[in-house]
Every structure is written in C-alpha cells, then in structure tokens.
C-alpha cells in the first residue's frame, strides 16, 4: 500500500503563490485532512497530488514511484496514478444512469462485462443505492448523488482516495451521517484517504492526522488531538475548536525555572509548565479553551455575564472581564441573567502561552491565581 511524499512543492499563478515550499508525508492507510480557511491552498495541494494540476516546482512520490518532478520533467497523468477523486459537487455525468456512471471507469479499464456487473452491484449494495440503478443523477437527492459519486470513485479500487469537500453541499444531518460512513469506509477499504475541508469539526472527527494550512504554508501536521491541545501558534489555536479558544493579551516575566508570572484581567497569576521555556518578550497571549473556564460559586475569579447561549446538551456562557469577553462551556442547559456576577476558575494543565508578536507557542501548563 502506498505512501505519498511531497517534497518542496510550490505552485505559482503569475505572481500569486498558492502553495509555498510544501513538504508532506502521508503514511500508508492514513486518513489525512487538509484543513484551512478558503484560499489557503488546500484544494490546490490535493489537485496536485491527484495529477489534475501541475506544481511549479517540487517532487511528488506515490508508493515509491516518482509521479511528478519539476527537475526531471516527470509528470504522470492522473489516469495512471491509480487514484480516486471525489469532487465537491460530485461531477456525476448527467446523461448517464447510476449504473452507467459507476461502470464507466471499469469500462475504460477494459474489465469484462460480468466483472463490471458484479463490481457495480457490489458497490451499489455497499452504498445502499441498489434501488436507483436506472435513475439519472437529476432524479436523485443530494445525499443519494453523493453515494453514487462515492461508489463511482471506489469502483476501480483506487489505492488512494482524494476528496475535495465532499460533504459541504449536504445538510447538517446528512453530513453527520456521511461522516460516520466515510470513517467506516476508510477502515473497510484500508485505502489512504486525503480529504480537503474548511470545517474543523470534520477534520477533528475524521482524520488520523490533520494538515492545517494557511496562505499556502503548512502550519501544523499532527494527529487531531495534538493539534487541538498543543497548537503550534495562535492561528492554529484559533482555527481549531468550537467555540473558539479564548486568547487574552497580557504581560509575563520569568519567575523561576519553568515558571512565569502573568498579568491578565488586571490580576496576577503564576504560570507553570512541565519543562523550562524561553520568554522572548514580556508581551504574551494566553490561550484558554472554553472548557477550561469552569463557572462555580467557589471560583476565584469574578466576571459579569455578557450573554448565555444554551444549546441543549451544552451551554456557552460569555463572560465579561475587564475589556475581554471570554467563552466558557458547561454541560447541560443553564441560563444566567445578563449582567449578573459569577465566579469562575482557570482549570487544567493545557493552558497555552504564546509570544504576542510572532504568535508562536512558547509553552503549555497550568495557571494559578496569586
């Protein structure tokens, strides 16, 4: 099974650099999501690996085979890379029935008739679309079309499956269902999946590794939980997680080995990490996930309720403290009166310390009021 290696990939359109000097290794059998805001170069990267777009410079290897090299002038066509591609709007051929759509790829591979028939039948059963065999794409709902598209893509048994925001055209409920099925499909087929999305939740829930990009540059390439808990910079911290992470400006000075004194919300705190860290400047940002701000009567920090957003299972509480508005999440449904005073704490050992100027993560640890 294949491993995909990208070396120093750059893609330029005239003066615009879409992807800059990108190096990435996608392990065999991985489910990698390329995550980032729109225009960050994630789709371009995917299309370059699939062979639908040629990089300006760099090398791409799939399964040890050089499929693209700007130096050696190699560019193997998409057809010969043995990959599948699932398009955002499915790109089903409107003049063909479901059967014909799925069978088309097998016909071009010159499978014999009974084999095609068997494989199409098998795919339709897997995707639960057997009853639509003779329908045209326009006679199917979005979710059904999506299933046909998946069946069509998987039918020739590609070694690698590329997906470009395949769920973004579905409604929220269906999206949830399809996520579950895609994850199962990944296990069942054992193929390598590369998945583009701008939805951090999708990336978190599906991927074995997230590759987070911004402005054509990889920010972080790690398993989802690492990206969530130990973001390398403020951009990653802010992009991943919902509600978004609280990022508070403050001042810091080293107080001891692996310890610093913090000034935030007009109060003094002690930050302590597991290992020592550098503090390039006194200007810092502190990153606190909403779940690390528990509200309780015994809390040691005072704030005012700015607004409360109960969603049934959990409630997001917006707390005003000084100039800042913080998000806190608590389990269950609660409703606080606006402008009432509450108390909360900063909890846990995953509080992040960033350099304010570069946004780089300096350390993570716990915070204690002093």
């Amino acid at each position: 099974m294949p491993e995909i290696i990208l070396r120093n990939i750059t893609k330029r359109w005239n003066d615009f650099v879409a992807v800059k000097d990108l190096c990435l290794t996608i392990e065999d059998g991985a489910f990698v999501t390329l995550l980032g805001p729109s225009g960050c170069g994630k789709t371009t990267t995917l299309r370059m690996i699939a062979g639908l777009e040629a990089p300006t410079t760099g090398d791409i290897l799939i399964d040890g085979v050089m499929v693209f090299s700007s130096e050696k002038g190699i560019n193997i066509s998409a057809a010969k890379r043995d990959v599948g591609f699932l398009f955002q709007n499915y790109a089903l051929w409107p003049h063909m029935t479901v059967y014909q759509n799925i069978a088309f790829g097998l016909e071009t591979l010159k499978w014999d008739k009974p084999a095609i028939k068997g494989r199409v039948q098998e795919m339709m059963e897997t995707m639960k679309i057997t009853q639509f065999v003779n329908r045209y794409p326009s006679e199917l709902s979005g979710g059904q079309q999506q299933r046909v598209a998946i069946a069509r893509t998987l039918a020739p048994k590609p070694k690698v499956l590329f997906m470009d925001e395949p769920l973004s055209n579905l409604d929220a409920k269906l999206r949830g269902e399809m996520r579950t099925e895609l994850k199962r499909l990944h296990v069942d087929t054992g193929s390598t999946f590369v998945y583009v999305t701008h939805d951090q939740l999708e990336a978190m829930t599906l991927a074995t590794r997230i590759c987070l990009m911004n402005e054509g540059v990889i920010q972080q390439y790690d398993p989802p939980l690492t990206v969530y808990e130990q973001p390398v910079n403020v951009f990653v911290a802010d992009f991943v997680g919902n509600p978004t992470m609280n990022i508070v400006s403050g001042r810091a000075s080293k107080s001891a080995n692996a310890k610093a004194e913090l000034q935030i919300f007009g109060q003094r705190f002690e930050f302590s990490s597991a290992s020592d860290f550098d503090l390039p400047s006194t200007d810092v940002s502190i990153g606190i996930r909403p779940e690390f701000l528990p509200i309780s009567d015994s809390g040691r920090i005072r704030g005012l309720i700015y607004s409360t957003l109960p969603a049934g299972m959990e409630t997001t509480v917006k707390i005003k403290i000084g100039d800042a508005i913080l998000s806190s999440v608590m389990f269950g449904s609660v409703d606080y009166k606006v402008d009432s005073e509450i108390r909360f704490d900063i909890f846990g050992n995953k509080i992040l310390l960033f350099d304010k100027e570069s946004g780089r993560n300096l350390a993570f640890g716990s915070v204690r009021i002093i």
């Binding site: 599948g84 790109a91 051929w93 088309f104 790829g105």
Partner: protein
C-alpha cells in the same frame, strides 16, 4: 423577420440562464413586475441585447439575398446588391472599394459591440444555478399576446410556404384560377413566354444536380464547422479567462463581422490569383466553413462553459483517454448545443446565396439556380425551387431531431 429567430436564439439563452433569484430578490423588496423588468432584468441583459441588435444590424447590412429578391424590382439598392451589379458589369475596382466599405462597417460594429459589452462583461456571465423558473402571470393579456404571435407566425412563416406551393402551380404567373402541375412534372422542355425553361422540376436534371451540389456542400461544411466549433469551445472553456482563450474566441468570431458579400469578394480576389481553385467545390467549402465558424464556435463555447471542469476531470481520474471523454462524456451532455452547431451551418449553407454568388457557377448550387430563375422572371420555377429547399431543410432537421433528440432552438442557450 429574417433575423428574428436569430435574435430569439441569442436572447433566449441569456434570459433562460439568468438567475431567477435575482428577480425574486426584487420581488421580495416589493418591486412591481414592470419595475423589475425595467430596473433589474433589462440592465442585466442589456449588454447582450445591444450586442444582438448590433450583430443583426451588421449582418443585415451585408445581406444580399433578401434585398436582391425583394428590393431589385422596386429599385431599392443596398450596398451589397450594388456590389453584385458592379461585378457583373465588371467594374471590379469599384467593387473592391465597396468591399472595403463593408468590411469597415463590420469592424466598426465589432468595436462598438466590444465597447458596450466589454465594459459590463461581468453581467453577461450571469450563470443560472437556480433551476426554478417562475412564469409571469399575465392573465388575459397572455391570450392576446399568444394570438398576436400566432397570427404573426402564420402570416410570415406559413403563408409564404403556401404561396410558394400555389405560385409554382400557376399556369399564368399570379393567376390562381388555372392551376397546373406542368412546372413540376413535365417531361418536355417547357416554353414559357417564348423562352425555353427546361423540363419540369421533378425531372429537371439541372435542378437535381444543383440540389445535390447544395446538399453535398452543406453537409461537408456542417461537418467541418460543427466539429471545429466543438473543439474551439472545448479549448476556450479549458483555458477560460486566459488571454489565449479570449483571442481564439474573438478570432473565430471575426468572419461573422465581415459582411458576407465582402467575404465572397475577398475570396474572389484570392481565387483570381490562384486559378486552380476558381469555382471549385473546395473553395466553396473553405469559404462556407470560415463563414459559419463563428456561430458554431459560439454555441460550442457557451455549451462547454456550462460544463464544470470537474465533469471532465472525473473521467480523467478513471483513466478515460481524450477521445473517449469527448465522445462519451462531453458531447452527449451538451448534445443539443453541439448538434445545433452542425445543423445551423447546414441550414444556412443550404439557403446561402450572397456568400457563394460571386464564387460558384450558376448550376452548381440550388440557390444559384433559384437566383437565375428569379432573374429570368419564371416565378413558377423559382417558387418551386424555394419550396424544395425548404422541404429539404425541414426534412434534414426532422431526421436529425429524431435521431439525436436534439433540436436547434434548444441548443444555443443551453438547457
């Protein structure tokens, strides 16, 4: 009348592609119907409307056949008929000057069109994603408009057919009291007003030869033009937005703006240098192909533009080679557009006179023969020939429609 279908085809496509949401948004804002049409619909389609008007103007400017048949008896001369008469009276120097004038007009219109459309181009690319079509409720006016339109159609489209048929049966021109099939089925040479006219139409070898010549020419031209149009459309759509694509599509459109007569006379000048080509089938094919290319390339381009690149990429991924992708994916999806890219050149070529009038022998094409009968004032024969042309065109259209399920009017604007 002659150009109305053309305008309909161009405008219909634009209107059909306009996003109904745009109008709906205005409805929500409590704008009334008239206001919507005036303030929203018109400005959006204005560029293409103006360009349609300009194009129709420039092509009627160059039109030869209509003024030739209708205008010459009443001494209503236009540039193009003048041109022909200058050629026939061998004032070729003056004729070429006239050609230049016609070309300048054409280029002028191209520039004007570019100025108007170019500035507001963003509007013309309103592509319809919204599939909902909301019909205007017109109530009783609806019936009124329908009746007027039907009358209009009967008066101007069906009536001539009937009159062609009747006229060709008249024993004496214009006298409907005595009808005869003489001009159709006579085995003998007909002598009319002491001139020999030839055998009856159905047995007239000269006519069948000319008809066959026209069909052959039209088929060859249509095949060349339709295929090139498809390929040009493909190329332009693939490189959409790039300078090359713009250049190609403008270049392919250029022959359209050279008035037909001028075009013929240019090629006459060319063939006078290369006597080998003179009056051959080949030169007619070349001229016809170039002349009708703009239309096919436009319809090809607009059809291709409607297909997202992903449709083709999906086939690339599964390893379908180029030819398979063209014949099994792209062509069938926009079948009606592409078929009309073949049919329209065929139809136009069948009826074309102005383009070939300077280049062909009078026996080689049916329209040439028609013009000859007309000049000789044998209206029974010329009307009969007219009817035959119309029947052939309708027949081919019908057969192609039946075989492919595509129709000419649906094709240009997309589905």
């Amino acid at each position: 009348m002659h150009y109305a279908p053309f305008a309909y085809i161009l405008m219909g496509g634009v209107l059909r592609n306009m996003d109904a949401n745009l109008e709906e948004a205005a409805t929500i804002l409590k704008a009334d119907r008239l206001r919507i049409i005036w303030k929203v619909t018109l400005p959006i389609v204005l560029p293409s409307m103006i360009s349609t008007v300009l194009l129709v103007f420039s092509s009627s400017m160059a039109s030869f056949s209509v003024p030739n048949f209708i205008g010459s008896p009443g001494n209503f001369f236009v540039l193009s008929t003048m041109l022909k008469s200058l050629y026939t009276s061998s004032f070729s120097g003056q004729a070429f000057v006239m050609t230049l004038v016609l070309i300048l007009f054409g280029i002028g219109f191209l520039l004007l069109n570019h100025l108007v459309v170019g500035k507001r181009k963003s509007f013309t690319t309103v592509t319809g994603k919204s599939g909902q079509v909301s019909y205007i409720r017109m109530g009783k006016i609806n019936i009124f408009i329908s009746v007027v339109l039907i009358l209009f159609l009967v008066l101007f489209a069906i009536m001539p057919l009937v009159s062609f048929a009747l006229e060709s049966l008249c024993l004496v021109q214009g006298d409907y009291s005595k009808l005869t099939f003489r001009y159709w089925i006579s085995h003998e040479e007909i002598t009319d007003l002491s001139r020999s006219v030839g055998k009856g139409l159905l047995f007239n070898l000269r006519l069948w030869g000319a008809l066959w010549g026209s069909v052959k020419l039209s088929v060859v031209v249509a095949l060349i033009v339709g295929t090139s149009g498809f390929l040009i459309g493909y190329g332009v759509a693939r490189k959409r937005g790039s300078k090359i694509a713009d250049a190609v599509s403008n270049f392919a459109f250029f022959p359209y703006l050279i008035p037909t007569m001028a075009f013929g006379s240019i090629w006459l000048a060319v063939t006078s240098r290369i006597p080998l080509l003179r009056g051959t089938f080949l030169i007619l094919v070349i001229v016809g192909a170039i002349k009708y290319l703009p239309f096919a390339s436009r319809s090809g381009t607009s059809a291709m533009m409607q297909l997202s690149g992903e449709i083709e990429e999906a086939a690339v991924i599964v390893g379908a080679p180029w030819f398979t992708r063209m014949t099994r994916i792209l062509f069938p999806i926009q079948k009606s557009s592409f078929i009309s890219g073949y049919l329209l050149p065929f139809v136009s070529c069948m009826r074309e006179l102005s383009l070939f009038v300077l280049l062909a022998d009078k026996d080689s094409l049916v329209t040439m023969l028609l013009s000859f009968y007309d000049e000789a004032n044998i209206s029974q024969m010329s009307n009969g020939v007219n009817l035959l042309i119309i029947i052939v065109v309708l027949l081919v259209n019908f057969v192609v429609n039946k075989l492919t399920g595509a129709s000419i009017d649906k094709g240009i604007g997309g589905n």
